[in-house]
Symmetry: C2
Subunit: 353 residues, 2 copies
Amino acid sequence: MPTLTAPAIHLPPDDSGRRGTRRVTSYDVANVAGVSQSAVSRCFKPGASVSKATYQRVMQAARELDYIPNAAARSLCTRRSNLVAVILWEQAILSHPGIVTELTQQFARRGMRAVLFTLASEADIDGTLAALWQHQVDGAIVAARLGEAHIAEFTRRALPFLLFNRPAGHEVNAVACDHYAAARTLAARLASAGHKRFALVSGPADSSVAQERLRGVCERLAELGLPRPLVVAGNFDYASGARAMREIRARSEALPDVVVCTNDMMAIGCIDTARTEFGLSVPCDLSVTGFDGSASSGWLSYNLTTMRLPIAEMALAAAEMFAGLMAGGAAPQQRLFSPVVVDGTTARLGPAA
Amino acid sequence: MPTLTAPAIHLPPDDSGRRGTRRVTSYDVANVAGVSQSAVSRCFKPGASVSKATYQRVMQAARELDYIPNAAARSLCTRRSNLVAVILWEQAILSHPGIVTELTQQFARRGMRAVLFTLASEADIDGTLAALWQHQVDGAIVAARLGEAHIAEFTRRALPFLLFNRPAGHEVNAVACDHYAAARTLAARLASAGHKRFALVSGPADSSVAQERLRGVCERLAELGLPRPLVVAGNFDYASGARAMREIRARSEALPDVVVCTNDMMAIGCIDTARTEFGLSVPCDLSVTGFDGSASSGWLSYNLTTMRLPIAEMALAAAEMFAGLMAGGAAPQQRLFSPVVVDGTTARLGPAA
DNA sequence: TTGTAGGCGTTATCAC
DNA sequence: GTGATAACGCCTACAA
């Protein structure tokens, strides 16, 4: 049995001359503990077979030397890094900061870390993915538009991924929200409350979420035989909501009954402008609705009538689904959530028609 | 000169039998290109010396095989992962989502990626740091309270780090904001506009930022000989601002002249409650001020008088400073920014006194 | 400029 | 249960 004073045959006695001080490796621990390097390795692997005595000697030595396993080296052998790429559109972070906090915390709970990629626009994906492949992430959560080619590349690399809050075909994992159905519901309930002339504020052209919301409202209105809505352009931020309100007022001789915005931020911009610049009362003179259920939509000044996305639940579902993907690939599944009607005070809602 | 049909001596001809398909390595590329592995390696290193012919052959082969260098392996040799840990308090993300987007994009521009750690409370740091040491991050940006022991551990591990928007001693790198001075300025300008009786809404007990802001206001008021302000507790969110307003009204027979909140979110909660529940006019019946310059503070409904943090500039500075730390350790430096007075309409400001 | 050989720190395999 | 030994995929002298 090796003694505690056995020479450190594997290692130079001190600094190896590289930049910085030499790191403490499992060999160092092995030498101090008087065991083999593989014994040390096993002690740091959850379900390994080590005798109690060995385990304690190793852990004692590890503590003395302040040894911490090197994740890069481990990743090289195991092909697992415990890193998950999270790809988010910048706008998504700004309107739902909770996505970031919920996802990272859910992952942390499972021993995983999030590497964050933010896109200035949904189109920037290509460069981001290139960076992704190098870092050995175990998978990705993508809240951005992913083309067929991108999806194919993920599967070709056998890299698990799931789409978050984005429409998906049946072949991919996804945690999503049925924006289209929600938009139809909203349109119907607004109509049944007596709103007839609709104005719509669209979102950024490359946002599929905005498009679905828009399409849902338009189609439902058409089915109900209501006049074609006035559609003005927005890009999801406050200022564009304010601009949209001005444009709506300028372009229509009579105000519409309701302005349906494809997100909350724009709805708030609309309301502020209607109230402040035009002296209108919401909802007496004009109804306004949003989409998202962001924190500010609930503030007393607005109490917005909107469709709330269950972000926390979705983040939890995403983390769970991802853990499942890691454990063993089941068939692609989709978990679909429904936005929740928030019956605020900026628009009257009738029963679903 | 080796021919293109040279046998792949380093590699088994096909799948090695491990789980998943074998990855494409630089040896594969070398074989196809008919060069040595090190030649391939050099081609992927920015400033290496490779002949044009070799470079093109290698790149052609890499493209055919769809080869991408393995960051984990590279990290093992170079001791650089191009990963930066970003440690943020959850509250910071919710009130300044821009921190996340700006930091990640600035890093991306420099070829680095952010590994995000979010803390539910500033005290959770210990567990987070333990996770940090394993992943071979090149350094960390910390927007959370860091004790002396933590700082010592960073330096002991020779891991570059910088504090973001947190007070720091002279021995550590930091990008910070002078909340104390800003708070003094705000107090002085409110006083010189005639406000005499102050109420203050504090922040979470473990937030150093909130404490500095509170201290700055209190001390300046004392210096100006004004009566001691009424301090009520808040925790930085909207609801606590609303509660604070109710408490202020309940605890004072006459309303104060101004309610100084230690952040914008609470100021907005105050204003909404004052207007909606108590029918007060801000600023006619009551002035309210915030701190942060968050997006919503500029909305028409509020147009908050506040002190804006130059988050984007600070993020840029942080990324730059971090790049500097990577390049070569200069002496610890601090870059101090000053919050900018936003002369909104929720409180009158006089000249600095 | 190019190739050879050794190392980075760990896990996995297989005898013992 | 334990210890040699071979990967893992790349970088970096060093020699040619």
